[in-house]
Symmetry: C2
Subunit: 343 residues, 2 copies
Amino acid sequence: MMRRSKRSLTIQDVAKAAGVSVSTVSRVLNNKDDIAPETYERVKAVIADMGYTSSLAARSMRSLRKNVLGLIIPDAGAPFPIEVMKGVNRAISTLEYDLIIYTCGDTRKHFTADREKKFVSLLNNSVTDGVIVVTPEATHFNTNAPVVAVDPHYEINEYPSVISTNWEGAMEAMGHLLNLGHQRIGFISGRYDLQSTNRRLLGYQDGLAKAGIPIDPELITQGDFSADSGLKCARQLLSLTKPPTAIFAANDEMAMGVYQAAHEAGLSIPEDLSVVGFDNIPEASQSEPGLTTIHQPIQEMGKIAVQMLLKLIEGEPLEENIIKTPTCLVIRDSCQALEPVRQ
Amino acid sequence: MMRRSKRSLTIQDVAKAAGVSVSTVSRVLNNKDDIAPETYERVKAVIADMGYTSSLAARSMRSLRKNVLGLIIPDAGAPFPIEVMKGVNRAISTLEYDLIIYTCGDTRKHFTADREKKFVSLLNNSVTDGVIVVTPEATHFNTNAPVVAVDPHYEINEYPSVISTNWEGAMEAMGHLLNLGHQRIGFISGRYDLQSTNRRLLGYQDGLAKAGIPIDPELITQGDFSADSGLKCARQLLSLTKPPTAIFAANDEMAMGVYQAAHEAGLSIPEDLSVVGFDNIPEASQSEPGLTTIHQPIQEMGKIAVQMLLKLIEGEPLEENIIKTPTCLVIRDSCQALEPVRQ
DNA sequence: AATTACCCCGAAAACGTTACCGGTAATGAT
DNA sequence: ATCATTACCGGTAACGTTTTCGGGGTAATT
């Protein structure tokens, strides 16, 4: 129960208490085999008794292997990075790695630079063996420790990445709506400079083209992946002189905004408006009605990123530098066949 | 563009490149005033040019102040810790502190021990100046760096903490339902050994007592704060021979489970069943119908925790060791006055 | 009995950084 | 002209760990 007043416990204190050298304690800590069983047990007991844990900083500085993985996510709050985080956490929990999460603040200004700086500061010569970055803006990180990206913003990168079949997913979503007889389908996009946005928009356009339906620019709006932007875009779409009978939102959060806009306009889903989202975040199944959406295996993506990262750390080569995770359509209750009688 | 192959950049490399000593570079890095302006600028330029960032590990080991705060959360996924995280992140973003998040895995077995170990490993003599722990199980942390808890599990702790007015909130929720004429009110509790659960249950009981309504043990069920447990408890409540006309769930996630159970049973909310939650997580406003709930300023709690922690780091005394954040009733569309005609 | 082999363990050198102490040159005061 | 003061900067000792090296025992082999 006695507490050191100033300094904290060091390996020296343990060594003194156990009557052995510092090296021996270190050997015990790292499960080296070069040690007598009885000494091992005795030192182990002293360590447990004193409640000693080694300093991450000192350990990281000396040894090459730190047994810590890093995860860098944008301003925490969006479901996507959080789902990735869960997947990473789960994948790591069975290994002997620890996880440190870094969030870059929400300052839009120096977003990239700031993130990159923090990233390097973490990695460069510090505390982690490798890092996973979620939706990175930067296309290059100057470090020698491995990096894996999940859903990178831009297409051309230096680092390995895992990303979903965005185009195929969007095609499938469009196929579903078209099969139900919808012809005027609104699209709510994300930022145009983002890879995932681009692919989904392309899927929307190609889906229409395949069905022989001309593209009406009025039906394409731009959001920013937030529910709020989805609301605004949906309002805009619904106030058109010839409003769409269905809306395909580039992610589920914006689809939730569509729900709200429909509610405002007195439209019920799916009777008056069909809605399809993208991602299949947990909220999609809890909404009323359940949101039909394109499932993206987000947690799985985190898991795959961990596997890639571990390979890189071990020095093994990667078979694929870009791994594509498959999407699939999840049908719930937010879509309905269009009445054959057109008004 | 040239990249070192093996080792990463050190302060030595920078010093050599800038033609100054290591100490001078360090002075520049730490904005010490004991330096000539021109030298400062020159070294700064070299640092930027080489893309050097100092090693967190080495810096942490040597200097007392690390300018890094730690946040420890249970298995990431639950909305509560995530909201705290957002608040902490926001509070920190204006300061010159960085944030490192640690999640203890979801292994139930050594939950406390594991968490404590990780915690100490982070703090003890490592990388952070102080740590915020969300819903800690442990009542004591053997460390000399400061700790602040948000919503600690148990009532008697060693560390300062910030916690909501759980009893008052529950009383207000009950007052609302009772005012609407409800007499049979079901309660879905959390784990009985948790402080917040206890307080809310007490509020439920005291609310009934105040209205002169006897407590029916049948109406009190125990969940575990997950939506799934809320579903199960609600099923149980609704299958009673005399089912409740209203359900008060000890958190919003379980209230979402109630929604699902009502849906299954063909009951509509609020016509056939009134529901009140607790927490006011983002999903509460997005659900259909909007969930009436007790607002807990979760992000604010994170912010307050940061303020307390900073005081402790600065060595200033705390005015209060326990700060209570106020709850308030948020009325949405999940409650309705009970028809005067009783069946 | 002498040599070899092996098993443990301790001493000491790093790792990259900051804190502390001095030292030099320039400036100002007597 | 000498001394004290200041401004700036470099050398060096830590910080707490892991790793390498080697040495002292004891057991096995010649």
